[in-house]
């Protein structure tokens, strides 16, 4: 219910929507519908390229959507000022709010696809929204770059791309660290009703632990509505494992950290990138020493990361977070794609995105590589100490 939405019922009318969308967009690769992007189907870059950002601007997960928006704004500023796509070529972004609701995401995506001026879309951050619109994107043939949305069923066809790696792909460093620290036993505390954490907690983390000779001595599942972790904390304290892998949503994490301390547990806790963006700050001292792997951190030292961190600080006067990095890298990926294919039509961008993916790039998240259309990053393991992240090692 954290992903609370007032109107979850409704639908993405995939089949029909797709038919009409295609009709309305009048063969954007044919190139005669007069749209700013569509008229370049034969190659070439339009003067103005419009990218639609269809993400949560309001609602319970707005931190991800608004964060990505800020990152993308910074990227656009750089791209336009640099003249990256040639003199006078500018990228514009149009924000559409999904408001935390699946059917609204489908509806806004549909609008963006039906608008011939939209060349590409930065897609929803929530897995369930993304999985719903992914088939729609395939039929509507609009290149869509998702950020976050780490579950299965998102990158499912030639038109779907993901700029943020799924969490399990960069979680290994956390277990490497635990192994190095000499941990032998580990407890897993996870939110089993949150798709990403269910996957990680039930399959990936136990598998990674086994590879490293760590024994999972406890696996405690909770649900989205669980608020009090006194019981689980005491169960963990009683078992007293060397480490705890904690896979919980933001408010749950704060409570669990506090109550683990209260219960007298003193081992190492490893959490997730949900704790980034200051989401663990409310736990105060109790969160000191917490480690978590992130795709991006202000503490990262890769060239692209440092440049982004500084530029973001300058533009917004605050520290960048992983959601900012998402939007930044997604927008730059699209710009690089247009440059690579020399074609700002939808088909051109799709080809460009694939091309850039095959080569990889250096962005806010460091050196990004790809598995198909799905990003992979080295990530970084950070430690939370007195209100700031520091790199581990």
């Amino acid at each position: 219910m954290n992903r609370g939405r007032m109107r979850t019922n409704v639908l993405a009318g995939l089949a029909v929507a797709a038919v009409f969308t295609t009709a309305a967009c009048g063969g954007n690769d044919g190139g005669d519908n007069g749209g700013a992007s569509g008229d370049n189907g034969d190659g070439g870059i339009a003067e103005t390229i419009t990218i639609a950002q269809v993400q949560d601007q309001t609602g319970p997960v707005s931190y991800a959507g608004v964060g990505a928006k800020e990152g993308a704004e910074l990227a656009i500023e750089e791209i336009n000022e640099e003249g990256f796509l040639g003199d006078g070529v500018t990228i514009e972004m149009e924000e559409l709010d999904t408001g935390g609701e699946i059917e609204r995401a489908a509806s806004e995506m549909n609008k963006a696809m039906a608008d011939p001026n939209v060349s590409a879309i930065i897609g929803p951050t929530q897995s369930q929204q993304a999985a719903t619109v992914a088939p729609l994107v395939g039929r509507g043939e609009v290149p869509t770059v998702f950020t976050q949305a780490g579950s299965e069923g998102v990158v499912v066809n030639d038109w779907t791309f993901r700029a943020t790696p799924p969490m399990e792909s960069y979680y290994e460093p956390a277990l490497d660290y635990l192994e190095e620290q000499g941990a032998e036993t580990v407890s897993v505390l996870y939110n089993a009703t949150f798709p990403t954490f269910a996957l990680l907690g039930e399959d990936d983390v136990p598998a990674m632990a086994e590879e490293r000779g760590l024994e999972v001595v406890q696996s405690l599942a909770v649900q989205m509505t669980t608020q009090d972790f006194a019981g689980q904390s005491q169960q963990i304290a009683r078992e007293n494992p060397d480490a705890v892998v904690m896979l919980l949503i933001a408010p749950q994490s704060v409570t669990a950290m506090k109550q683990l301390g209260t219960a007298g547990y003193e081992g190492q806790v490893s959490a997730t990138s949900v704790q980034a963006a200051g989401n663990i700050a409310a736990a105060g001292d109790a969160a000191n020493g917490l480690i978590y792997p992130v795709p991006y951190s202000t503490a990262m030292e890769a060239e692209g990361s440092v440049a982004f961190t500084e530029a973001f600080e300058e533009k917004f006067g605050k520290d960048a977070n992983p959601y900012n990095a998402d939007g930044y890298d997604a927008m730059w990926w699209i710009a690089r794609a247009i440059e690579a294919s020399g074609d700002s039509s939808r088909e051109g961008i799709r080809e460009g995105l694939e091309q850039v993916a095959s080569e990889g790039y250096s962005g806010a998240m460091g050196d990004v590589t790809f598995e198909g259309n799905d990003a992979r990053v080295p990530g970084a393991l950070v430690r939370w100490e007195d209100g700031a992240e520091t790199l581990v090692q």
Partner: protein
């Protein structure tokens, strides 16, 4: 037209399925039963149809029918079990039922896809087909609002003792309302799921109850027309007040509260009132005109 339609086709579909969902709550309410089992039926119908498609390989409409029938039967049986309960105690029991459906989906393993839900149940459903289904449902419900049947339903709701005395089998009527609620809710869930190809446990929750209830009360709770008005309002509201951006949700709250305070019979009540006044004025004008002529 076609551009507008292409941009808003999802909203059109949403309106129709929201109408079905709202009706699944409204039907028992019209029979004097405070049951939210329709939302549980939505979940059962959604999962039923998705399972039929993904695991059994059925085609679209048999899968929809399967989901709706299973939901109808389950909710009917629920109705038999909880028929002693009254008022909000009934409401609580049926909400419990709905939440349990969601928990079963989380723990359903491969059958339900666990927390991630079921993917890939993409049916072939056109807006016209949904429209036909909705028209059929609405036409049947309309019959229960007319004439003797309508009066009997009103009696079952407003004065069950009197209804019993008049020879109306209140218990039987109420059991029937559970069956209908389950079928319609199941239909809504099945169509929704197969349109968007996925269903997840998180969707079958209390917010859906609130959506359906708000739509009915704001639209008008006594007739399917009210449910339609409510569905239209709440599906399209974000489009209409989208310009408010961050304050959209505040506006939503204000609109719902103001409607609850000032529209005792919902928007439908106001519309009827205006229509009535308009008619009377027209009538007067005609009489006046006749008087003048003569």
């Amino acid at each position: 037209m076609s551009t507008w339609y292409a941009m808003n086709v999802v909203l059109v579909q949403t309106t129709l399925t929201t109408l079905l969902l709202a009706l699944s709550i409204q039907v028992p309410l019209r029979f004097g039963v405070f049951s939210f089992a329709g939302v549980g039926a939505f979940g059962i119908g959604g999962y039923g149809s998705a399972i039929a498609m993904v695991h059994l390989g059925w085609s679209t409409w048999p899968a929809v029918a399967f989901g709706a029938v299973v939901a109808g039967l389950v909710v009917f049986l629920l109705g038999l079990v909880v028929q002693r309960l009254t008022g909000l105690y009934m409401g609580m029991a049926t909400i419990a039922f709905t939440l349990i459906v969601s928990v079963l989906a989380v723990n359903g393993g491969d059958l339900t896809g666990g927390a991630m839900g079921l993917y890939g149940a993409l049916g072939e459903i056109s807006v016209l087909q949904i429209l036909l289904v909705v028209l059929l449902v609405v036409a049947l419900l309309h019959l229960t609002e007319l004439g003797g049947m309508g009066r009997r339903v009103d009696a079952v709701r407003d004065d069950p003792e009197l209804a019993n005395a008049l020879g109306v089998d209140v218990v039987r009527y109420r059991q029937f309302s559970f069956l209908v609620s389950g079928l319609i809710g199941g239909l809504a869930g099945a169509i929704t799921t197969l349109l968007r190809s996925t269903i997840t446990p998180a969707e079958v929750n209390f917010h859906l109850v609130i959506l359906a209830l708000t739509a009915i009360v704001v639209g008008g709770s006594r007739s399917w027309v009210g449910a339609l008005i409510g569905a239209v309002i709440f599906v399209w509201l974000p489009t209409w007040i989208g310009f408010l951006a961050e304050w959209e949700r505040v506006a939503y709250g204000v609109i719902v509260a103001v409607a609850a305070i000032y529209l005792p019979l919902g928007v439908l009540g106001v519309a009827k009132d205006l229509w009535h006044r308009f008619r009377t004025r027209e009538e007067r004008a005609r009489v006046a005109a006749l008087a003048k002529e003569s």
